[in-house]
């Protein structure tokens, strides 16, 4: 069975390149462009992994993270935060809310993101 990955990201150009690679690697990619949609898809589709941006329309990533972890159905899905926010406060907040890994977009190559996804799904 193909593993499902939910990618919550409001910038289509960023979403495209990563989705392309993930699909090539044999994953099924679900996309959401804002926080509310992301939560809805997470609850109905129960993906194996969530890639989450923090600055999102409607509901920001911190809020999404909080609600994901509060819901029985979604609380065990690993969440990789993929953002350009990098204040110490932001990193700590996201990790304390239950994010598994924190990646700053500008500092990582596409292959690094793929590596993180793979290692998360192996466990």
């Amino acid at each position: 069975m193909d593993k499902k990955i939910l990618f919550v990201e409001d910038e289509p150009n960023l979403q495209k390149a990563i989705s392309e690679v993930l699909v090539q690697e044999g994953y099924k990619v679900l996309k959401a462009a804002d926080g509310e949609e992301g939560l809805k898809v997470a609850q109905t589709e129960k993906p194996h992994l969530i890639l989450l941006d923090l600055i999102l329309p409607k509901k920001d990533g911190f809020e999404v993270l909080k609600e994901l972890k509060a819901d029985e159905k979604t609380k065990d899905i690993p969440v990789v935060v993929l953002t350009n926010l990098e204040g110490i406060g932001d990193v700590e907040k996201a990790l304390s809310l239950g994010a598994t890994t924190y990646l700053v977009k500008a500092n990582y190559e596409l292959e690094d993101v793929l590596k993180t996804v793979k290692s998360q799904l192996k466990e």
């Binding site: 495209k16 390149a17 392309e20 500008a106 500092n107 596409l110 292959e111």
Partner: protein
Amino acid sequence: MDLKTLFKKLDFMAECRKYGLGFWQCPNSLFLMMGVIIIVAMVLTYFIGIRLVDPEVVIATVCIVTIVLLVIGHSLVNSFARVAEANRMKSEFVSIVSHQLRTPLSALKWSLDLLRSKRLGEINQKQKEYLDIINESGIKMIKLVNDLLNVNRIEEGRFTIVPKLFSLSTVIEEMVNELKLMAQAQHIELVFKNHPKGSDIYADEEKIRMVIQNLVDNAIKYSKKEGGKVEITLNKEKDKFIKVSVKDNGLGIPAMVQKQVFGKFFRGDNLVKQKVEGTGLGLFIAKGIVRISGGEMNFDSKEGIGSDFWFTLPVPSKKLIKNSEQKP
């Protein structure tokens, strides 16, 4: 000093024009006016004093002068606030622009990674060459944006560090091993002189690594093309500070520009001539990090002989070492 620079110095409004402040908003002009009023008032009081012996007149004059001075003082305080506000808005602008730049830059970088990984199909040699050029420029832009954001954080006192106990020797050893081959390829000898008696410090490991990396990169950049030598030394100063010094036998910094080295966007003349890469923000950020960590950074340099850049970091107290050993 020629006449032109003399006139420039006399132009007291120059600073204020930079911030877009008018005569009545500029601290410099207000101070000048205050001085003039005080002198005129003193002269007037003198003349009034010898002609009229009426104490009421003298008191009234003093009162009027005081009120005028108070009003000017008030606008002086306001003008300082305005200068601070102008400066704040400027850094906020840089911060917003840098943040906004990161999203498109990430999209650019990832799309390029995708093309270069050949996942979308083969690319020929010529295409690869040009993709590599775009990629290199992209990385440079990301570095510049990251540097600008760091400069901004340092200037606004928002640069946060997460200190922990770690061995400085180990960090430097790792770095020397990484850079050795690269240095050898440029015929530069990279040496590390360790200090035998421990080098544990309490600081932000990642940020201190950035500082040392910056100094060593600079030393290699400036080094002689043949027979270059970069020497990293670790020393203890009176058991209170650990001193790291990075010495090269390269171009050296001319005495005339030595004062500007730690300024923003400083790039040595000889650097520009030799087309050495860099944003000119590295040393500003490095010094900022060292200061926040409780140390100092400076350098000695002689043109044609070489430079010795060093920084200090406080030795952690025994209590601190013990505490962090208890909770690993």
